[in-house]
């Protein structure tokens, strides 16, 4: 009986061990740097792979948070206005555990001076889902094989139509906010959580510790969002920021200074910023960062010429996007590619004929 038990334990250990070895080898082979063409990465991972592909130690500012942050901060505008390099490393529906690993991964080969944290996702918490995250995120962090397991889809389908500019997607859609401009006085929908959980506070501490060790300053800020902020939430974040000893800026209290026009600057009736709102928010945060006087204006520096080149592309996209979706843009670009390809083939054929 005893030897049977021993044999069984060895068998189980061997099975698990072999599985682990295969996973480790697969993950070692499948690292983004070695294997991935960013065009093959789909969905949510696009941003993080693009972040990893940035030239080493060139990013000054990182911006993290959920969709409020990625919709309301455009790094190309910060570059245009201040010459600071930045990147959006947030994601839709971001949760705390995911954000901690996003910061750790993004800082692998970068040493930003500032980490801007949009505050809304501090209120997002569901015990079961977040415990899952706590378990799966460290695994994804260590296993590229699992994190990028969807890469096989690229073999059978074209890349997603979204176009990212340093983690920002241009959105010119206007959905006017028709509610009360004094929205901070209002109650939020009952489904909104009004407290910051101990779990989220714990992960925030982890992010802060990581940043402190690397000399990264955290600025916590609240994006203008009529549907997501009121005095109660703002008060909670103020208290939280004090307790954590980080700077806090609430843009909702200084809407006029930021210049937000609720008729034009929101994409979806007061929830997220659109491009016009994002330009204003980025402008305000850029000025604030400039006042800190510890960031260098890289404009004109040949080492950062790729930013100038991308700014031209970005402006072109902004111009093209007027009244169009990413799908339209994608189709037009694809058509152009095909035209060029056929033109090339035709000219080759003509050359062969004349020869």
């Amino acid at each position: 009986m005893h030897s049977d038990l021993k044999k069984n334990i060895i068998k189980l250990a061997a099975f698990g061990g072999l599985l682990l070895v295969i996973l480790v080898i697969a993950s070692a082979i499948m690292t983004p740097e070695k294997w991935f063409d960013e065009n093959l990465i789909q969905d949510r991972n696009s941003r993080s792979v693009q972040m990893m592909e940035q030239p080493e130690y060139t990013i000054d500012v990182m911006n993290i948070g959920d969709s409020l942050s990625t919709a309301g901060f455009t790094p190309m505008e910060l570059w245009r206005q201040q010459g600071f390099t930045s990147f959006n490393i947030g994601a839709d529906g971001l949760r705390m555990a995911e954000s901690y690993y996003a910061v750790v991964e993004a800082c692998d080969k970068q040493a930003p001076k500032y980490l801007l944290i949009e505050s809304l996702y501090l209120f997002r918490f569901a015990l079961g889902q977040d415990m899952q995250m706590s378990l799966s995120q460290p695994i994804y962090h260590r296993s590229a094989f699992l994190k990028y397991h969807n890469i096989w889809k690229s073999l059978v389908e074209p890349k997603g139509v979204m176009i990212y500019h340093r983690g920002y997607t241009v959105n010119e859609n206007v959905g006017e906010y028709e509610g009360d401009f004094g929205y901070l006085d209002l109650d939020l929908d009952k489904n909104n959580r009004m407290t910051i959980s101990a779990y989220n506070s714990f992960y925030f501490d982890m992010i802060k510790k990581f940043c402190d060790e690397r000399g990264i300053k955290i600025i916590l800020y609240s994006m203008p969002s009529a549907l997501n902020y009121n005095w109660e939430r703002v008060g909670k974040i103020e208290e939280f920021a004090k307790e954590k000893r980080v700077e806090y800026i609430d843009l909702n209290q200084i809407i006029d200074q930021v210049g937000i026009d609720w008729e034009q600057d929101t994409n979806d009736n007061g929830d997220h910023m659109n491009l016009f709102g994002a330009v204003k928010v980025t402008g305000y945060l850029g000025n604030h960062l400039k006042e800190k006087a510890d960031l260098v204006d890289h404009r004109g520096d040949p080492a950062y010429s790729d930013w100038d080149a991308e700014l031209i592309e970005y402006d072109q996209l902004v111009e093209d996007m007027e009244g169009m979706s990413f799908q339209d843009i994608w189709n037009i670009r694809k058509d152009k590619e095909w035209d060029e390809k056929y033109k090339k083939q035709d000219s080759q054929k003509n050359t062969e004929k004349t020869e």
């Binding site: 069984n8 079961g128 899952q132 378990l135 995120q137 994804y140 699992l146 096989w152 889809k153």
Partner: protein, 526 residues
Amino acid sequence: MAIHTNLYLLVFLPVVLIIYQLVPRKARWGVLLAASYALYISFSKYLVLLLMATAAFTYGIGRWMDRIGNECSEKQKECTDRKQKSEVKKAFQKKRVVALRVGVLVLLGILFYVNYYNFVAQNVNIFLGKLGTQLPMARVMFPMGISFYTLEAVGYLADVYWERYPAEKHLGKLALFLSFFPQIMEGPIARYPDTSDALFAGEPVKMENLNEGFLRIIWGLFKKMVVSDRLSYLTTHLFTNYKEYHGSFIILAAIAYTIQLYLEFSGSIDIVIGSGKLFGVTIPENFNQPFSAQSAAEFWRRWHMSLGTWFKNYVFYPITVSPMVKNWNKKARKKYGKYWSMVGTSAMALFPVWVATGVWHGAGWKYLFYGMYYFVILLFGVAMEPIKEKNLQKLGIDKDAKWLKVVRILKTWVIIFTGELFFNALNLRAGFAMFFSIFGNFHISSIWKYWPDVLTKGDVVAVCAGSVIVWIVGFLKESGVDIRGKILNAKTPYKWGVYYAIIFAILIFGAYGTGYQPVDLIYAGF
């Protein structure tokens, strides 16, 4: 912590298994009970008290019936003749009926209040509103698994009443039966003798059980994560935005939802049965290749079998043998003949079963309609059976001909897909709108032309490949090939090869990862 999550599979289950093995055999049932309540607390918090109270109440009623039975036996011993004995039995039987009624009414009353009160109040208020009064709406939290454990408790009380087995003397044992953690979310609805002994036996963890349980769990995950969860994006989109789609898309929605529901429900039942097996507990099966059924009646003998069996045992049979139905049958036979009395009796027994089956799934007109839909189809099947046979004989068609079987299976599919269309529609009105729009604008080509981007080409490839694999396995099983047995009895390298193949299929093709929202278990909401 749902049973398909990594928290359950990678942490909870192994930890419980280790603790279970480490404690003395006599205390193992306690580990399972504690684990069951811990899991329950993780999603229903203090409502665990209701689960505990249900166990205590069911235990009390069972013991009460037992005590009445014992008193009856004692009294009967004092009786001198048969007649006296029979009278004593009758008198005590009345007391037992009272006990049973109290038990069933309280259990079903709680279920009704939690599940249906607001629905009933909402509808009653439409009329009361005109009289200037309103029933108040209740603020109730939904206790996870209440529809499952309530039916188990009612079944237990009925069986004790019918003296199929004596009432359980150990409260912990009954509490464990009602709350066993793999089963609490999605069933299957077990009968007390199915699992109680194994749950209480504290069998040590055995290698063959680990193998069987593990294989079952990863197979369930494959069904759910590779196929079902991907399809849920498409079905959610189509059923929510049904006004934008017509014809072929609505048929696609019905078929896709049926596949999604089957693979998700049977997949999670695989996880349930696999989890039980790890502890040496054999949980009853809930599916048996339902899409091989040749009629709607057969489909329900193969689909959610534990629910069908429960209604058969505790609703259908008691009604069929009740004095009222027996009397009616006798009279009807004389007056209308054998055929019509058979149809009438079937209608009397089937009607409550299908009303109950419909509303068991939830409070809503669409669920009631779903039940009535099957009631009509099944009754029609009963009524047509003799006529069908006659016609086949007249036409000289062999009723076991293979082509006829295929036709029957396809006909059953149409019935199933239509039923699921109404089942998953936003409401009954939306269900009818979707159903009629099938005939409005039917163009198969519109599927490729207007394919919604919620399901990409890659997803479609995974769904199709996964479904084909599941279908092949089901087909082999239906043909009598014990594929699971073959894998489990194979030599270790082959066995491990299959395990790794399934695991890597899930890891590569499964719908999971950062930003991906795990799809909730559909039947956990019932």
